[in-house]
């Protein structure tokens, strides 16, 4: 997933109505009018929300030309999870270097500015 698409996914899910639409599409496909029914808003407003979700790749349109049921692209969520995992791993790498720094402080050794990428050696 590109960063642009990821930003669109985050932005799309920042809205409570769109999250609600996603939650309902997770249960089953639905048409625009079915999706609009529980909300006190126009079909056009729901269509706008759906457009944002479609641009983010979260929702697609079915092939039935009459009804165009909307479908949730669940795998996009898996990709987003993987992307956040990358960010988490980056923080974890940084903190493992801090582990090594803390371990070196334990030993009472003078602090050096040498790279401490080799965490294992410091324990």
């Amino acid at each position: 997933m590109s960063e642009d698409q990821l930003s669109r996914v985050f932005a799309a899910l920042a809205d409570p109505t769109r999250r609600d639409i996603v939650a309902r599409l997770a249960i089953r496909d639905a048409t625009v009018s079915q999706l609009a029914a529980p909300y006190n808003v126009s079909i056009q407003a729901v269509s706008k929300h759906l457009k944002v979700l479609e641009d983010a790749g979260l929702v697609s349109r079915g092939h039935d030309a009459q009804r165009r049921p909307r479908h949730l692209e669940a795998e996009v969520f898996d990709m987003m999870t993987a992307w956040i995992e990358r960010y988490r791993r980056q923080a974890e790498e940084r903190y493992r270097r801090l582990d090594a720094v803390l371990a070196a402080m334990d030993d009472g050794e003078p602090f050096s500015r040498e790279p401490t990428n080799n965490q294992g050696a410091a324990s």
Binding site: E3, L6, S7, F10, A11, L13, A14, P16, R19, I84, R86, Y87, R88, R89, Q90, A91, E92, E93, R94, Y95, R96, R97, L98, D99, A100, V101, L102, A103, M105, D106, F111, S112, R113, E114, P115, T116, N117, N118, Q119, G120, S123
Partner: protein, 167 residues
């Protein structure tokens, strides 16, 4: 992906929380050291330089005046070239408990986040750090998370990419 330090890591892997409603990132991590020691590693520039920043880059700390009202400026340097620079102020330095900083990446000078680091004493010589970043809006938060891929852990990602390519 990286497993070289897991023998001492136990069950304290970093946790990330990115709230879909709030422009925040929360990073939680436990350390095998008391709060006094962890706090020192955050405020003494010689120690900070050893762990802050991406793995493959050297950190050049120009200023690190970790006192309430103090300031900092540092750069990530790779192959003698500055790849990114950051600055901000220390809003509050409360020894062994709390560190509040502003944070700006010079590549996005209008962006500023508020970073609150809390050091929780877990007893038995252990500490939980909770880092909360608050940015201006969700787009800014997402940009920060995305930018981590550019200045992030190159080697780790290259290995990951190779693994994924083998698919």
């Amino acid at each position: 992906m990286s497993t070289n330090a897991t023998h001492q890591a136990g069950t304290r892997e970093t946790t990330i929380e990115a709230d879909p409603n709030l422009p925040t990132i929360r990073i939680i991590r436990d350390f095998d050291a008391p709060p006094e020691k962890v706090f020192r590693a955050w405020i003494e520039p010689d120690l900070v330089a050893q762990w802050l920043g991406p793995k493959s880059t050297e950190i050049r700390i120009d200023e690190w005046n970790a006192r309430t009202g103090g300031n900092y400026h540092y750069a990530a340097v790779r192959d003698g070239e500055e790849v990114a620079a950051f600055y901000g102020s220390f809003h509050e330095v409360r020894p062994h408990e709390r560190l509040v900083q502003t944070f700006t990446w010079e590549g996005m000078p209008d962006g500023v986040s508020l970073e609150t680091m809390t050091f929780e004493d877990l007893g038995n010589g252990r500490t939980r750090t909770i880092g909360l970043s608050v940015v201006e809006n969700l787009e800014g938060r997402d940009a920060i998370m995305a930018s981590g891929m550019e200045v992030g852990v190159y080697e780790g990602y290259e290995k990951l990419d190779a693994l994924l390519a083998q698919g």
